[in-house]
């Protein structure tokens, strides 16, 4: 504990914390409790239809591909069609998300679904997003057995399903959605905000896709 006390003590003396300790404590407690919002870019503050369009446009601007389907009965076909269009095997690795399990998989009879975390041998991962952010085409995924984190990073191709109603204008609203899962001040173990497929510019500043994470990212938006 000596390091802790020394560091905190030094900060206290440098900022002059003894002058009005009560006000300082209230200020901090207040800020943590209220979490006031700052400047929200106007770009994403649109009606749901325009927000969905902005989300798809921004996602495509960073090399994500998108498909919009009417409801969950069309998800299996959309997955299967995408795999075929990319010459990928009809097989996905996924978690136990009930929204994905409940999709009508009989419509894609040749598709194999492996459930559980990825060990790196799966060509394609399938996840369900908790939220999306229109302002930058970002997807928000939360960890758990329903959507294991390894599925987001190990397979070379990643397909993410999202409900149109979960697409928000800004990060703050999307993170509020995350907060609502466990409560204020609590977080799922891992929250991944994903904006496009993996990339690197480390060799002569040439941007290349597929550094360590997926080379391709495909989003299926369910309007339902």
């Amino acid at each position: 504990m000596s390091g802790r006390e020394a560091i905190l003590g030094k900060i206290r003396s440098q900022v002059g914390a003894d002058q009005d300790p009560a006000t300082r404590r209230t200020t901090v407690a207040d800020r943590l409790a209220k979490a006031p919002r700052g400047i929200i870019p106007k770009r994403g503050q649109l009606d749901p239809r325009a927000q969905l369009k902005l989300f798809c446009d921004r996602a495509e601007a960073v090399q994500t591909t998108t498909t919009v389907v009417k409801d969950y009965s069309q998800v299996a076909e959309a997955v299967s069609d995408y795999l075929r269009s990319r010459n990928l095997p009809q097989a996905v690795r996924m978690g136990t998300d009930p929204r994905l399990e409940g999709a009508d998989w009989s419509k894609a009879p040749n598709l194999t679904r492996d459930v559980g975390p990825s060990d790196g041998s799966d060509p394609v991962g399938l996840s369900h997003a908790t939220a999306g952010v229109a302002e930058t085409g970002t997807l928000v995924l939360t960890s758990g057995s329903d959507n294991p984190t390894t599925v987001n990073f190990l397979p070379e191709n990643h397909i993410i399903v999202i409900d149109a109603a979960d697409i928000k204008g800004d990060y703050e609203s999307a993170l509020d959605q995350v907060r609502s899962m466990a409560g204020k001040g609590l977080m799922p173990r891992t929250v991944n905000m994903i904006t496009g497929p993996s990339r690197s510019g480390d060799i002569e500043q040439t941007i290349l896709l597929g550094a360590h994470g997926p080379r391709s990212l495909h989003v299926i938006v369910v309007e339902g």
């Binding site: 504990m1 390091g3 560091i7 905190l8 030094k10 900060i11 440098q14 900022v15 914390a17 404590r25 901090v28 800020r31 943590l32 979490a35 700052g38 400047i39 870019p41 106007k42 921004r58 960073v62 978690g95 559980g116 060990d119 302002e135 930058t136 970002t138 960890s143 057995s145 294991p148 984190t149 390894t150 987001n152 190990l154 800004d170 990060y171 703050e172 993170l175 907060r179 977080m187 799922p188 173990r189 891992t190 929250v191 991944n192 905000m193 994903i194 496009g196 993996s198 990339r199 690197s200 510019g201 480390d202 060799i203 500043q205 040439t206 597929g210 550094a211 360590h212 994470g213 997926p214």
Partner: protein
């Protein structure tokens, strides 16, 4: 890491004569400046967000003790461990203890400048634990036995032909005739080689872009996904972070995220922004079983409450060095320690002392581009000036320079004498310049005339011209 900042001048001379480096440095301007401008222009709220980001950090630093305690409480609540390290040595020992308890043989690493500051790689190797850098740029420089030359593009000084040579030497288990002509094939090879290392590692070490007091969360912002594999696959995740990485709430983080990637790479948002809170939960099928955070001071508390506090707002985007004419000319290694460019010129003397770091604040033209692009509005030139003052107060600069400054100050305090002296010197130099109007040699100015001629002054002194101008204006 051995500091060579006292040899900055020699380093710079070598850098200027290094053709490969000069070719590679061309990529800095090409790769960053236009992209940042386009991203900033595309967001009307960008300038207002910079103000907001500055205010958030100022508020946080003014209450840093309380936010750190709130953060610690939430980490512990979520099942994680917080370790406090006053010095780099303390931090190294904490990391070693965790690795030994985990029986670690190999450790994968996400990109982290704080780990460079701590010198963790050399230390772990000495103790028989193998650290493996997994960011492509960091991996390349680890193979080359070099330090990063840029805080977000560590291998920006390396050409692809050099990467090819390094890979052929290191990956000698792969076929000799394989094609490594393009960045694509180099990336593929690194991806394949590193994939197995991710899976085999016992401990994963990452840095943190933010620590959130509200939730006890650490956040990394990356493009490759290596940081995520580093922290998801091994049994133990260690986060290395300096104390000023704290942000109060998720709302505050959202504000700063909007200026971070735009300022760094010109992206609206980096590919992966990952929030980690504690270890694996009940029912989880992946993720680390242990989650440790090492909070490092290493001299930062000395900056709080001083004229250097603003530097602690830095979010390590690299925009200042991307826009710095001195960095463009000599690259990052010449700076001689972990942090190059304008931010390094302020931070190095702050953390290592002006005795060792004093050369860096002098290596600036004060053109002001760094401050103009800094997303956190850090007054970098002003702080470099403060370091020059400290250096002067401590009698650290060369005698000739001190004597020159004192002489100038003596004259400057006697305006009539100063004006007379300036007139006489100007006439003299003008005559010496002859018909060409250039001086190949100049008294006390050999440092300049050794490399180029000095243009001889023409016409009247500035003060005479100013007086005439005011006369006309009336």
């Amino acid at each position: 890491m051995k500091i060579t900042t006292p040899e900055f001048k020699e380093n710079a001379v070598k850098a200027l004569a290094n053709d490969n480096l000069q070719k590679a440095l061309g990529n800095v301007e090409k790769g960053f400046i236009g992209k940042r401008q386009a991203a900033a222009d595309a967001l009307p709220e960008f300038e207002a967000l910079r103000d907001k980001a500055r205010d958030i950090k100022d508020h946080t630093l003014a209450h840093l003790d309380l936010y750190l305690k709130a953060y610690e409480e939430k980490v512990v609540e979520s099942g994680g461990h917080v370790h406090w390290a006053q010095t780099a040595e303390d931090a190294r020992n904490i990391v070693l203890d965790i690795c030994r308890t985990a029986n670690a043989k190999t450790v994968t690493k996400g990109k982290s400048m704080i780990s460079e500051e701590m010198g963790i790689n050399e230390f772990l190797e000495e103790k028989g634990i193998q650290p493996i850098e997994t960011d492509l740029g960091e991996y390349i420089i680890q193979l080359r036995g070099e330090a990063p030359s840029h805080i977000i593009a560590p291998a920006v000084h390396v050409l692809k032909e050099q990467v090819e040579a390094d890979f052929r030497e290191e990956h000698d288990h792969l076929p000799e005739g394989r094609n490594l002509d393009e960045p694509e094939t180099l990336l593929d090879e690194a991806r394949t080689v590193l994939r197995q290392k991710f899976i085999d590692a016992d401990v994963g070490i990452t840095g943190a872009n933010f620590l959130v007091a509200e939730t006890g969360t650490s956040i990394i912002v990356t493009n490759e996904g290596n940081g995520d594999l580093t922290q998801t696959l091994p049994r133990v995740h260690i986060v290395l972070a300096s104390i000023e990485k704290i942000a109060p709430t998720l709302e505050d983080v959202s504000q700063i995220l909007r200026v971070l990637a735009r300022s760094a790479t010109g992206q609206d948002m980096s590919v992966y922004t990952t929030f980690s809170t504690g270890p694996r939960r009940e029912g989880d099928v992946d993720g680390p079983e242990e989650y440790h955070v090492v909070l490092l001071d290493n001299g930062r508390t000395n900056m709080i409450g001083t004229e250097f506090q603003d530097m602690l707002r830095c979010i390590r985007c690299g925009a200042c060095m991307n826009h710095c004419p001195v960095y463009h000319a000599v690259g990052g290694h010449a700076y001689g320690w972990v942090y190059p460019g304008p931010m390094g010129a302020v931070l190095t003397p702050s953390l290592k002392g002006v005795e060792d770091g004093g050369n860096l604040p002098n290596a600036s033209t004060f053109c002001g581009r760094c401050e103009a692009v800094c997303p956190m509005r850090i007054p970098l030139p002003k702080m470099m000036r403060h370091w020059r003052e400290r250096e002067f107060e401590k009698n650290l600069n060369p005698a000739v320079q001190r004597w020159g400054l004192k002489t100038w100050a003596w004259f400057a305090q006697r305006p009539r004498l100063y004006q007379l002296g300036a007139r006489v010197a100007m006439r003299g130099l003008s005559i010496m310049g002859g018909k060409k109007g250039r001086l190949a040699k100049m008294p006390l100015g050999s440092g300049w005339t050794k490399y180029r001629d000095m243009p001889a002054p023409e016409g009247e002194t500035f003060q005479a011209q100013w007086a005439a101008h005011k006369g006309r204006a009336k």
